[in-house]
């Protein structure tokens, strides 16, 4: 069974790494030597058992008590396997948070009960909405430190609802916990400070999320490479969206030339007859021209071919100044272009409008993107794989965006 991927997000020090360490420990999922290593390293650092060290494996992370890079750990509950993705909470490491979130189907947003909503809480919530993660479970953590105060929990929960309302979202649960003591993490804390709470614990809430069904979407296949095969040219890539069968009529974009699928190869089978979402296959097409990497084989309804389009982008690198050339990478396409910034804002302070001539780390923008060559795209909502892109600046990924 495929592990369900979930990312843990939130402001720095609100307890993300501790939560995961605690969850694994309380469910007996922590391997003996990892547990011993966590104990030893905590002791070396002069601390009691620091559950965060299970995830924060770099020497620098432990010394500084922070998470620098995202990591993934496997865990199996009574219901199903998970891959839990830890994410750093500092603005400077936001690219690592996004890297982690890009693998997730659902998310946890941690909020410290004492501190309440902080800048990275806001930024992460907006970013999760941008990349299309809809199932978000909010944990109000460190209730032990907040004196198990129910009124404080309700107050922070109300702030959380207001935050989600800014992008028309709703968290599916808001649970008071203590990652440190384990209360309401892997089992309900019926006694003690949290006995006023009657809802599910974190693990129960997690198990209640349904695996998103693969929706019926139009067929898309961005050509990754072309190999010469004894039976002719084979286009390799993965099915980015939808499904395909041998004999289907397709079109190859941006030109839009019609073609028929002669075979769908998956070694050692010369023709497997059909392929669906995520399948890495080789296509043999009846077409008088051999397509190149970046062309998109598509079904109906057809994708759009554009050289100017609107987008919402998120920046995770050093300062960008308007007009600098960039490369847009969408599926296997890579096209040079320019960004025309329309409105720049900080998702952590959405009411302030910022200088529209530059972008700084952690900021978002509404923009128009003009490309030097045609780009084949879809609206993000209808085909996510062709509706999102990475922006490269000087050869390095610097931002990400959604076709709006």
């Amino acid at each position: 069974m495929r592990p369900f991927p979930i990312v843990i997000t939130g402001h720095v020090d609100h307890g993300k790494s501790t939560l995961i360490g605690r969850l694994l420990y309380d469910t007996g999922a922590l391997q003996a030597d990892r547990l011993a290593e966590m104990r030893q390293s905590s002791q070396d650092a002069g601390k009691a058992s620091e559950f965060a060290f299970v995830l924060d494996a770099f020497e620098e992370e432990r010394a500084r008590g922070i998470t620098i890079d995202t990591s993934q750990i496997y865990f199996t509950s009574a219901r199903r396997p998970y891959v839990i993705i830890d994410a750093p909470g500092h603005r400077e490491f936001i690219r690592n948070m996004l890297t982690g979130a890009s693998y997730a189907d659902a998310a946890v947003l941690m909020v410290d009960a004492v501190e309440g909503i902080c800048p990275q809480t806001r930024r992460h919530a907006k970013l999760l909405a941008l990349v299309g993660i809809k199932d978000i479970c909010v944990l109000i953590n460190k209730l032990d430190q907040a004196g198990y105060d129910r009124a404080r929990y309700l107050e922070v929960a109300a702030q959380v609802r207001d935050l989600f309302a800014e992008f028309s979202g709703t968290p599916f649960a808001i649970i008071p916990i203590s990652a440190l003591t384990g209360e309401n993490v892997a089992s309900r804390a019926r006694e003690g400070g949290l006995s006023w709470y009657y809802g599910p614990c974190f693990l129960e809430a997690l198990d209640a999320i349904d695996t998103p069904a693969i929706e019926e979407r139009p067929f898309r296949f961005a050509v990754q490479d072309v190999y010469q095969h004894e039976d002719g040219a084979v286009l390799v890539g993965k099915v980015d969206s939808g499904r395909l069968a041998t004999g289907d009529q397709v079109a190859v974009w941006p030109a839009g030339a019609a073609a028929r699928v002669r075979a769908i190869a998956k070694y050692p089978a010369p023709d497997v007859g059909a392929a669906s979402y995520g399948d890495a296959v080789g296509l043999f097409l009846d077409l008088d021209r051999v397509p190149a990497r970046g062309e998109v084989v598509a079904g109906e309804p057809a994708p759009e071919t554009v050289s100017l389009f609107g987008a919402t982008i998120f920046w995770f690198a050093d300062c960008y100044v308007s007009g600098r050339p960039v490369v847009i990478r969408c599926a296997t396409q890579a096209v040079a272009g320019r960004i025309e910034l329309l409105k720049v804002y900080d998702p952590a302070a959405p009411d302030e409008e910022l200088d529209p001539e530059s972008l700084n780390i952690g900021e978002m923008a509404r923009c128009r993107i003009r490309t030097d060559a045609p780009l084949v795209i879809d609206p993000f909502a209808s085909v996510p794989e062709l509706g999102r892109f990475v922006i490269e600046c000087d050869g390095v990924p610097a931002g990400a965006g959604i076709v709006a």
Binding site: M1, R2, G28, L30, Q31, A32, D33, R34, E37, Q40, S41, D44, V54, L55, A57, F58, E59, E60, I68, D69, T70, S71, Q72, I73, Y74, R95, N96, L98, T99, S102, Q224, D225, Y227, H229, V234, V236, G237, K238, A265, K266, Y267, P268, S276, Y277, G278, D279, A280, G282, R293, F316, R329, A331, E385, R388, F389, V390, G395, V396, P397, A400
Partner: protein, 268 residues
């Protein structure tokens, strides 16, 4: 599509992406163990039965005799060429696990042997069969990981990697480590080996109540007590164990950060 198909497809895409970007400057490391043999099988699938780049075996001279035998046999059977990389100079000086710290031995006989080979052959991308679930440090790896001219892993500044967009920008004398099976767990590997009926060194199977869960150099690997004498039994056993795979590996025991140091020095 079932779960193993999904894992396989992801790996194949990563392999093809590396080859598309680095072409003839690509190579793969084959330790002859279960993970890199799985990788080898995936490479074969990615290129419709061919292996279009060199397969490198880093030979410390301390491997199990069964490993050398298996290496030569599979190379013949599948018809691919193996480049054997050895740090001859250090071997001549008598470098070994008994000579000083184990870290030095790994550095000289593995890392530096690979360094010499990369310098000589000009590789820009090296495919490796590492997995996230092996170790806390490996859980933080990217699929495409740049290494500088000193072979250092700049793990504090790893580039973003999302939506199958892999970084491939190369500065002078840099190379990439590419990790196509990063998302497989140990159990996934065994299920895949079972499904694909992959050939394997039989050190993994129990003999007289012991087997190896992870194989490398003879002096630094100890077998675990286990009656599992078939792949089916290994899969059953792994579903119950709380010991981790590398428990039998000497490297990880010397010091908490040995793995990180080895990785940052370019060890695989």
């Amino acid at each position: 599509m079932d779960y193993l198909d999904a894992l396989e497809s992801k790996s194949i895409c990563v392999i093809r992406e590396a080859y598309q970007k680095f072409k003839g400057r690509t190579g793969m490391l084959w330790s002859v163990g279960k993970d890199s043999t799985t990788l080898l099988c995936l490479v074969r699938k990615a290129f419709f039965g061919k292996i279009p780049f060199p397969v490198i075996h880093i030979d410390t001279g301390y491997k199990f005799p069964e490993m050398y035998e298996f290496r030569d046999r599979l190379a013949k059977e599948w018809g691919f060429e193996v480049i054997v990389a050895r740090n001859e100079e250090q071997l001549a000086c008598g470098m070994g696990p008994d000579q000083g710290a184990k870290l030095d031995c790994c550095t000289e006989l593995k890392t530096n042997a690979l360094k010499q080979l990369i310098d000589r052959e000009g590789f820009q991308a090296i495919l490796l069969g590492i997995r996230r679930d092996e170790h806390g440090i490996r859980a933080k790896e990217r699929y495409f990981s740049p290494r500088d001219s000193q072979f250092q892993w700049d793990y504090e500044h790893q580039p973003a990697e999302l939506w199958d967009q892999y970084n491939s920008f190369l500065n002078e004398s840099e190379h990439y480590r590419v990790h196509p099976i990063l998302h497989f767990t140990e159990l996934d590997i065994w299920r895949y080996i079972q499904r694909e009926k992959l050939p394997l060194v039989d050190l993994y199977l129990s003999r007289q109540g012991h087997r190896y869960r992870s194989i490398g150099c003879v002096p630094c690997c100890s077998p675990v007590a286990s009656p599992a004498a078939s792949i089916e039994e290994i899969i059953e056993e792994l579903q119950l164990t709380t010991e981790s795979e590398r428990a039998g590996r000497a490297q990880d025991k010397e010091n908490l950060y040995t793995m990180q140091k080895l990785r940052s020095l370019g060890y695989m």
